[in-house]
Symmetry: C2
Subunit: 654 residues, 2 copies
């Protein structure tokens, strides 16, 4: 029953095996269709450029000898015998004493040898008076002076962007031979997979790899064709692969490579072609299978989405790019980053770890492991790429330089990393920042106030949004700087005030009037995640209620139905109430409004901003502080229900 890998290949063995996989195909296309493609031949000019002696100026084409000695005091008058403009040559020869009105780009008429600029001419009555002499050839661009017939314009391997296509067009080249966009057959395998748009039955999940790999293959200059979901059935998979080999340049499958699927995939590869790799000594990605049939590569990736994207980036992308005539290395990475926290690892296989990237104080790229593992879908939301950890280390020390492979051409280090509590006020703040600095990469990771404090300490966040109340004093945020070890590292800037309250279904069917009604027994609540300020607030409200009733807070907490069911944003609380999964939840008014819920105010709290001192000079951080202090932000907050600007926003809290 246990799966036996023939022999795990090392990364280097796999890279050397795939080096010969996949040959580019060449097609001839029109230059318009060639945009973004890669030239498969050297291309020479088919004509001289310009194809004729061409005027560089607006003015008059003349025989330079006629104007010898002409100047301001001794102008010479010529008779205008015609006109030449771009596309409209003057058909006759220019004789002595004659001039032809000429515009930029027009061919120089026979007989004329130069052009005098119109600034030095005064025309009228069929004649032109010229106040300057000209040298032979002045303002004339001779035929072939720019490019000559037969000269190489572009060489094989050139990627055809605007300037390359312009060059071909200028030389009259209509069609060019380029590397064809490889056609890639793509399928997801697994009995547990369901396509989006269909309801999930028990034990089923949606197919992630189909759409995600489709997009990755597109980014690599290929033409993906999605075959859909195949069941864990050897015959069906083999049939689909054989059919695809008839028309595709390569086949990419994912799933069915682990033990459960019973070695289906590698047997299919063995039957339709030649098995090259059966298992790789990496984590994740061990069950990878690579083969070849009729010279066409077959890739079988793990089912887990982060693993599939990692293996795609390591082994599939270079082959597909080479088939498309592109450089195997993508323009985006790998890039060098500094590991910002110590990363433990099991000894043994080489490991690839999803990381979140942040630009540090002096422009360096900092890498932070994502808190969830590669099996988690939420990792996809957080990770910009993955770093490589060698086989024989047990950990990577803080400060090490590592190589990070990016998941996408578009991903990269955050210029502003904002981590902490979720709030619509923050969304407005970050929108204003994006307006002022559209090129900046801004990341907002809502993980609650405690997560914000911790992220500022490690440096994963430049700024955190926090609203933690100290139950002893009722004071917000300031008392926690010491506890989280950031009193030296960071400065707390005054933010705004916002109302927290109870969200209930429209019309308040359970008749909830305040916190005490939550303990009635017929009310199911939904809680916020541990570490969120809102959860701390609920705990405080429970304590106050317990004191009032003379019972222990723990006892009262146990009587609260749904206390242990938690979600991680105000929106998710509102969604739970709106969908009837819960009767009530604590959150902000704006979220309640967005879901059409009723709202019972409970407390007003301080939402402040914790900024790392060493990042204050970062362009995006100083811009954020500037916006915090602006009237524009103040006005934006006034529009949000339940939020109001405070005095001294953006100033240090003392």
């Amino acid at each position: 029953m246990r799966k036996v890998f023939r022999r795990l290949s090392s990364v280097e063995e796999v890279l050397s095996l795939i080096d010969s996989l996949g040959r580019p195909r060449v097609v001839e296309v029109d230059i318009f269709s060639a945009a973004g493609m890669v030239l498969a031949e050297d291309v020479s000019s088919e004509l001289d450029i310009p194809p004729f002696d061409r005027s560089k100026m607006d003015g008059y084409a003349v025989r330079s000898a006629d104007l010898e000695g002409a100047d301001e005091r001794n102008p010479i008058t010529l008779s205008i015998v015609g006109e030449a403009s771009a596309g409209h040559p003057f058909g006759r020869e220019v004789g002595p004493g004659e001039a032809v009105r000429i515009s930029t780009g027009a061919p120089i008429p026979m007989g004329a040898d130069s052009v005098v600029m119109e600034e030095f001419c005064s025309p009228g009555d069929g004649r032109v008076t010229v106040y300057r002499s000209v040298a032979p050839g002045e303002n004339v661009q001779p035929a072939g002076s720019d490019l000559r017939y037969g000269e190489t314009l572009l060489r094989v391997g050139a990627r055809l962007g605007p300037r390359e296509i312009g060059l071909l067009a200028a030389a009259g080249v209509k069609r060019v031979r380029v590397y064809a966009r490889p056609v890639i057959a793509l399928a997801s395998t697994g009995d547990e997979l369901t396509p989006q748009g269909e309801p999930l039955s028990l034990g089923k999940i949606y197919d992630v790899n189909g759409p995600a790999l489709y997009s990755a293959i597109l980014e690599d200059g290929c033409d993906p064709r999605y075959l859909g979901i195949l069941p864990d059935d050897e015959g069906e998979i083999e049939g689909a692969v054989r059919e695809a080999l008839g028309w595709a340049d390569a086949v990419v499958l994912s799933g069915s490579t682990s033990v459960g699927a019973g070695d289906v995939i590698y047997r299919v590869v063995e039957r339709v072609g030649r098995l090259l790799v059966h298992g790789v000594a990496i984590q994740p990605g061990k069950p990878t299978v690579i083969g070849e049939a009729d010279g066409k590569p077959l890739f079988c990736l793990p089912g887990n989405p982060t693993s599939a994207l990692t293996v795609y980036r390591l082994f599939v992308s270079p082959v597909l790019r080479r088939m498309a005539g592109l450089s195997p290395a993508r323009s985006a990475g790998p890039l060098e980053a500094v590991v910002a926290v110590r990363i433990p690892k099991e000894r043994g296989r080489r490991a690839y770890l999803p990381v979140h990237l942040v630009r540090g104080a002096s422009g360096e790229v900092l890498a932070f492991p994502t808190p969830t593992g590669s099996e988690a879908v939420s990792t996809l939301a957080r990770a910009d790429g993955f770093l490589e950890i060698p086989e024989n280390v047990e950990y990577i020390p803080e400060g090490s330089r590592v190589r990070v492979f990016l998941f996408s051409e578009d991903s990269g280090p955050a210029d502003l990393s904002f981590i902490g509590s979720h709030c619509l006020g923050v969304e407005r703040l970050l929108s204003l920042l994006k307006e002022r600095s559209p090129g900046s990469r801004v990341k907002y990771v809502p993980v609650g106030s405690s997560g914000g404090f911790r992220a500022v300490r490690t440096g994963e966040a430049d700024v955190a949004g926090v609203h933690l109340i100290d139950p002893a004093t009722g004071e917000y945020n300031m008392p926690f700087l010491e506890a989280y070890g950031v009193s030296e590292l960071a400065v707390l800037l005054r933010g705004y005030l916002r109302v927290q309250g109870i969200m209930v279904a429209p019309g308040n069917p359970k008749g909830i009037r305040g916190v005490s009604d939550l303990f009635r027994g017929d009310v199911r609540i939904v809680n916020r995640n541990p570490g969120s300020g809102t959860r701390v607030l609920l705990d405080l409200l429970i304590e106050r209620e317990a004191r009032k009733r003379g019972v222990s807070p723990d006892e009262l907490r146990r009587s609260l139905r749904g206390y242990d069911i938690s979600v991680s944003s105000h929106g998710a609380v509102a969604a739970a109430v709106a969908s009837g999964r819960a009767d009530a939840g604590i959150g902000i008014e704006a979220a309640a409004r967005a879901y059409g819920l009723d709202f019972i105010p409970v407390a007003e709290e301080r939402y402040d901003f914790l900024v790392r001192r060493d990042r204050m000079e970062k362009r995006e951080v100083s811009l954020l502080v500037e916006i915090l202090r602006s009237d524009e932000f103040r006005a934006a907050l006034e529009e949000l229900p339940g939020i109001r600007p405070s005095e001294g926003m953006g100033e240090p809290v003392s």
Copy 2:
């Protein structure tokens, strides 16, 4: 007749006017079609992920209480009552003393609360013996622990790459609202324009801007529709623009904006909509016209290709990108560069100058003006982008920091800049370099040996390929280090030997046996460009012949038909002979062979490599030197006709 611009707008005025131009359209698409597009709405999860309690391992689903105290010495045996795999749940409840065989990704059956890994189990005969206890929840990923119903997955403005699309797919999202790819009507105007594939009549040129802007618009995430070439006719242009406004989101024209076309374009804009900009105070790009009709932008760019691409990059690209929902600034630039030579400029308008970029010794980007102006098509081949020169300066001093806008996402500084004489041996050398370092940007600009010496002196070249003979001594290259002022700056590395000869038509119809036959009077030759080693060689051959004949070299030179007609590569010489434009030309054997010509050997010369000392440490330069010294390169040269490896290749010439 002279064109009157209403009032030239400054760059800042134009940028502020276009800031409000162009609104994105929103469409709903399937997640597969959404790849590369930009989200127009926040998207929340439509389900809990995982949607059920899920096994993280292969093993047995059990009630943890049943295994209390189990270890190697005291194993506990359970009866196997069924199986659960991914997509195939176990339908019944697991009772006390029972276990269900379970694989990764399968739902935990009712009754079971944990999974014991198969490593600790020994199954057989319908029973499984377990050698370890498990904690409740061990190896179980609880429903909703990864993402919860209602949580925001992605926010408006997110570009949908593989990870974003994977996230949507995981949450069961099938369709999303994204910004539509704007449809851009594109036309070239001008009576002088001819489409590629048609012959050129006198005064006509090929349409460059149509294909070049088509490719630029594609790069900016839009959908260009090329309308073809419109004549300089107000009625026709107006008709085409009105028609296009019916279906396009914006219209981009080029040409017909200068004096010759008689103000056609701005009158059309005034009639179909509102004129916003009529002339910009920049060089090039002054005749730019920008308008708006029904909220749709109308851009009219200059006809000159480099000017059109410059204005496109400055004003059109940001608007189109905003319409596509993208950040107005492209990921590629502007980037900061150091001006490597003093750049003169006329005082007055702000100027944009095409530049060639090279990566310097310590990674900095160096900018060199391209030798030809913006009217030249060959500028497109050389320039990577353009730098901005403020209005009120007369020159930019060497060493200044400037902003460079790139023409294309793909362009950028050369990691290796190779400038000098053209040779097929160099092409092989650079191919080997590209194989060893596929990610490096290698530029090869063949401008002749003298140009190579000069480019090494300025730093525009890291390496030059040279073969200049000293007529006095017959020595190659070494004597010129002093003359070109590079004896301190650069080191000459030994290259290879190559045969120069006379290329003639197949069968040698003119019966040419040697150099002396070239002066017979019935032979038309084609020369190489001034500064090329081959031209110097011809001059030397003329001198020797003159000495032999006892005449002056000048006299003999004048008797050589075609001496003044020059082209700038061996290939172009061969092409001229092959096409019958010339009867003979001096060049290398490989070029003659490529065009099927006959070849009469005349001299063997030294082709050496001049390397700047301060760039020796650059990765690509040291790799190049390593390849020069390799057996692989030696073998590659043996395959080229008329070229043979020399002793000590890659070693300094003393």
